[in-house]
C-alpha cells in the first residue's frame, strides 16, 4: 500500500479565518484516519494586517516535523501569500482568488507568481461565497471545500467538524458555513484533479488506544487532569494561555479550583502556597513570566515545596516576539533564581511527550519535594499532532503526598531531616503531630533559621543530591537514542521541539548512507551527563541544533562535559528547517 505524505498551507491576513480553516482541515483528515502534524503562524495582533499561515502535514504514519516544501498552498490574501509561492513544490498546486475584489497590479496577484512546474488554480472564492451564503465571510469555508474537492477527500468528515465547530453560534451559522463548503466542494469537483497529490487509502488502525488530535498545550492540560491536579493559578501570556483556558473549563467539572491571579509572581506564590498546604498545584507561563517567577522558584527550592511550572518559550529577550518560537529560555529555566536554584527541568519533544511530561512532573515534584519546570515552546504548544492515548488514561504514580506516621513519645519532628536520599518527611497544615514553620532563610533540620557554614553546606548538598534520583525516575526516559546504532559519523544532541526536525534530518542522512544518530535529551536538570557522554563517545562529530542565538544547550553540554561540539544555533522565529540540519550533517560527515 502506498503511503500518504502531503503538506497543505493556508495563508491569509488576520481576520480571514485562516487558522479556523486549518483547524477544520486537520480535524477532518484526522477523523478520516490520517496522522497529522500541524503548526499555525499568526501575528501578535487580533485583527489588522498580520500574516496568518496554517500548515499541516498529513501522513499515513506519524511524522516528526513539517516539510520545507508544501504540496498545496491556498491563498486567502495574495498580499500575504505572495512571498510563500516558492514554498510550493514542483507539480504542487497554488490555489488563489481568481476575481480579486479590487483591480490590482499584475505583480501583486498570485497568478503572476506561479513558478514553472507549479499548477495554478484560480477560483472565484468570494463570488462562490456570495452566491452560496449571501456574503463574503464564508470564503475560508469555500476554500476548504475547494481543497476537499481538488484532492478527492470525502466531504462527510468536513461537514461533521464544521457543524461541531460552529454549533455554538447557532443553526444559521452552521447552515451558512456548510453552504460555503458545499459551494467550494462542487466547484472544485468539476475542474481537473490534482493527480500528483494523492491521498492513499488508510488501512484499519491498531485496535489498542485511540487516536485523537491535540495541541501541545491541550496535551499538557490533559496530563494535568490525569495527574489529578487540584489547583491551578495563572496569568495570561502567549503562548501558554491555552493551558489555563482549557483547565478553566475542565477543573471545576472535577470539583477543582483555578484562579487567575494579578501577575505571575502571585501565580507562582499561590502555587507554592497550595503545594505547601498539600494540594497538587501548577502554573503556566512564558519567558517574561518565568523571569518574574524566578525569586519564588528559589523559595520553592529552599523550602522544598512541590510545584510545577509549565514554561512555553517564545522569542526574546523582553517582550521579544510573542507569537514566534524560540528555545532561548533554557538558561533562565535552569538557573533563574537567587543562589543555587536546584530544580528539575524537563523538556518534551512532541505532543505526546507534553502529556507524559506533564503527569511525570507532578510525580517528580512530590517525590523529590522540588519545583519542576516543564519547558515547552510556542512551536510545541501550538502544534497539533494526532496522538495515541491509552483508553484507560495514563497511570501516573502519585503516592508521595501521604500522611506521616505518629511520632514516638519524645521524638521531635524534623521537617528537613538529613536523610540518606536527601528527601525528608513532609507534613502539611492540619497535622497536629508534625507542626513546623518553614522559611526562605537557610535553616536547620527543624526548619529554624541557621546560617552557619556547616548547615548551609549540608542543606545545599541535600537539595542538590536528592535530585540526582530523578535521573533514574521510574518509567521515564531522560534520554533516548534514535537512528544508527554503534559508531556514527555524526551524532545530534537535541532537546525540545527541535528534536522532531533533527530526527527527520537523521533519517534523511541515513538514506544518503551517512552513519548518523540523534540523542533526545528530555531531562535538562539534573543533567544526564553519563548518558550524553556515552552517546558522544560513539560520535566522530557532535552537532547541537537549537533555536536560540547563544547555543544555550551546547553551552550546558560543554560546561558539564568539556568536550567539543558543533553548534547550529539559529533564530528564525520558526522551526529550524530540516534541510538546514541535513546540510550541516553532510558538511560534518565530509570531515
Amino acid at each position: 500500500m502506498s503511503k500518504t505524505d502531503i503538506q497543505i498551507a493556508i495563508c491569509g491576513s488576520a481576520g480571514d479565518g485562516t487558522i479556523a480553516a486549518g483547524d477544520i482541515l486537520r480535524n477532518a483528515v484526522a477523523a478520516a484516519g490520517y496522522r497529522v502534524i500541524g503548526f499555525d503562524v499568526y501575528p501578535p495582533e487580533i485583527r489588522g494586517f498580520g500574516k496568518c499561515i496554517s500548515r499541516l502535514r498529513i501522513t499515513t504514519d506519524q511524522s516528526y516535523s513539517l516539510k520545507r516544501h508544501s504540496d498545496v498552498l491556498l491563498s486567502l490574501d495574495d498580499s500575504q501569500a505572495l512571498p510563500h509561492a516558492g514554498e510550493v513544490r514542483d507539480m504542487g498546486a497554488l490555489i488563489f482568488e481568481s476575481q480579486p475584489i479590487a483591480p490590482c497590479l499584475e505583480g501583486e496577484h498570485m497568478s503572476a507568481r506561479v513558478l514553472p512546474g507549479q499548477i495554478p488554480y484560480g477560483f472565484p472564492m468570494r463570488e462562490l461565497s456570495q452566491q452560496a451564503t449571501g456574503g463574503g465571510r464564508s470564503r475560508n469555508l469555500v476554500a476548504l471545500g475547494i481543497i476537499a474537492g481538488l484532492l478527492g477527500l470525502l466531504p462527510d468528515p468536513f461537514r461533521k467538524i464544521i457543524a461541531r465547530k460552529f454549533g455554538k453560534q447557532g443553526p444559521e451559522i452552521v447552515a451558512r458555513s456548510l453552504a460555503g463548503f458545499q459551494a467550494g466542494f462542487e466547484d472544485a469537483s468539476r475542474t481537473f484533479k490534482l493527480d500528483d497529490v494523492v491521498f492513499a487509502p488508510i488501512g484499519p488502525r491498531e485496535p489498542s488506544g485511540r487516536v485523537i488530535m491535540l495541541s501541545g498545550n491541550a496535551a499538557v492540560a490533559r496530563g494535568c487532569l490525569d495527574a489529578e491536579l487540584d489547583t491551578f493559578f495563572g496569568y495570561p501570556i502567549t503562548p501558554a494561555t491555552s493551558i489555563m483556558e482549557r483547565l478553566a473549563t475542565e477543573l471545576p467539572k472535577r470539583g477543582r479550583r483555578l484562579l487567575q491571579t494579578e501577575d505571575e509572581i502571585a501565580a507562582i506564590a499561590a502555587t507554592i502556597g497550595a503545594g505547601y498546604a498539600g494540594a497538587r498545584a501548577a502554573t503556566a507561563t512564558s519567558g517574561p513570566g518565568l523571569a518574574l517567577m524566578s525569586e519564588m522558584l528559589g523559595l520553592a527550592t529552599i523550602t522544598e515545596t512541590p510545584c510545577v511550572v509549565f514554561v512555553s518559550q517564545r522569542g526574546g529577550p523582553s517582550t521579544g516576539m510573542p507569537t514566534k518560537t524560540e528555545q532561548s529560555d533554557l538558561n533562565a529555566a535552569l538557573y533563574g533564581s537567587p543562589g543555587d536554584g536546584q530544580r528539575i527541568v524537563i523538556a518534551p519533544t512532541n505532543v505526546e511527550g507534553c502529556y507524559r511530561c506533564a503527569g511525570k512532573a507532578f510525580e517528580m515534584a512530590e517525590r523529590y519535594q522540588t519545583p519542576v519546570i516543564v519547558l515547552l515552546d510556542l512551536y510545541l504548544s501550538n502544534r497539533y499532532e494526532t496522538v495515541t492515548l491509552e483508553e484507560s488514561g495514563h497511570a501516573f504514580v502519585l503516592d508521595a503526598n501521604k500522611p506521616l506516621p505518629r511520632l514516638e513519645p519524645g521524638e521531635t519532628y524534623r521537617r528537613y531531616a538529613l536523610t540518606e536520599d536527601g528527601v525528608s518527611p513532609r507534613a502539611v497544615p492540619g497535622d497536629a503531630d508534625h507542626m513546623h514553620v518553614i522559611t526562605g532563610l537557610e535553616h536547620n533540620e527543624l526548619g529554624r533559621p541557621d546560617d552557619s557554614e556547616s548547615m548551609h553546606a549540608a542543606m545545599s548538598r541535600k537539595r542538590h543530591d536528592k535530585l540526582q534520583a530523578a535521573l533514574c525516575h521510574p518509567d521515564f526516559a531522560v534520554t533516548r537514542r534514535f537512528g544508527a546504532s554503534g559508531r556514527v559519523k555524526v551524532g545530534l544532541l537535541a532537546w525540545g521541539s527541535t528534536f522532531g526536525e533533527c530526527l527527520e534530518a537523521v533519517f534523511m542522512a541515513q538514506a544518503l548512507d551517512i552513519p548518523c544518530a540523534a540523542l533526545k535529551v528530555v531531562m535538562l536538570s539534573p543533567f544526564p551527563a553519563q548518558a550524553v557522554a556515552a552517546f558522544m563517545d560513539d560520535c566522530d562529530q557532535v552537532l547541537v541544533p537549537e533555536v536560540n542565538y547563544e547555543g544555550q544547550f551546547a553551552q550546558l553540554v560543554q560546561g558539564v562535559l568539556a568536550r567539543p561540539v558543533t553548534r547550529l544555533s539559529r533564530v528564525p522565529g520558526s522551526p529550524m528547517p530540516v534541510e538546514q540540519i541535513l546540510d550541516e550533517i553532510r558538511r560534518l560527515a565530509r570531515g
Binding site: P252, A269, A270, I272, G273, E295, P429, V437, I438
Partner: protein, 292 residues
Amino acid sequence: MSIPIKPVFVDEKLREVQESGRLAYRSHALPTWCPGCGYFAIVEGVTHACNAMNIPRDQAVVVSGIGCSSRFPFFVDLYGFHTLHGRALPVATGIKTANDHLTVLAVGGDGDGFAIGGGHIAHAAKRNVDITYILFDNGIYGLTKGQTSPTSAVGLRTSTSPFDNPERPLNPLLMLLSYGVSWLGQAYAGRPDHLRAMIAAAIAHRGFSYLHILSPCVTFDKTSRTYVNLGLQVRDLPPGHDPTDLMAAMQLARDTDHPALGLFYHQTRPTLGDTFDEIVARAKAKSAPVTD
C-alpha cells in the same frame, strides 16, 4: 484620653498568663525584636485571640513576607510560612484555596505590604479571600536598619533620605476601603487590650479582613512615630460611627492626624471559597449527563 495607670506585680501577671492557656500558642523561640518594640504586643494579641477563640493550633497558618514584623511566624506555635518580601498575600491565597478549613493569617510590615507587595492587596481585597491580614505599620524599614517606607511621614530623616523624606505617606486605610475590603479596623500597639479584641474580631470575620496596627520603631525613629506622639494622636472611634457606612469609614480614614482606633467598616459578601464552590456547582450542572 488618659491612660489609667495601676501597679502590676510580676508574680500576679505571670500566674495570670500561665493560667490563661495562651502560652500554648507561643513558641519557644525568643522574638528577634528590640526591647520596647510594639510588635511584642501583637504576638501577645494573636496568642490571646487564638486562645479565646479556641482555634486548634494545627488548623491555623501564619504567612509572612520579609521584614521585622515578618519574623512573626517563628514566635507563635502555629503552622507558619516565612516567604518572600511582599508575597505573603498570594502565598496565603494559595493555602486557603488548597484548604478551606485552615485559619489563615497574613502578617507583615508597611514596606512589605505597601511598597514591594502593594500590587497584591487590591486583589486579595477584591476577591474577598477569607484570610486575616494584620499589617504592622511603624513607618520605617527596621530590618534593613532605618530607611524610608511608604508610610513614613514627610520630613522624616532616614539613611536613604538624608535631606528629609519629601514624599507624602500613603493612606493605607483609604486604599483598602476603595479596594473593596470587607472588614477594616485599626489598632495601636500601645493599647494591648483593644488590640487583642480587634485581632479576634478580624479573625472571626468571614472574608478578607484588614487590621492596621500602628506601632513605633523605638530604634530607628526617635522623632516621628514614638509612643509619646502616637499616644497623643490616637483617639477612639466617634460615638455612633456606623461600620456599614462606607463613606463614613472613608471620612474617618482621611483623618491621619488623629487616627481612630476600632472597626471602621465591615460588609458581608461571598468569599473566594464561596465563588469557587459556585463555579464548581455550575460546571457540574452543565456537564451532567442529560436524562429524560
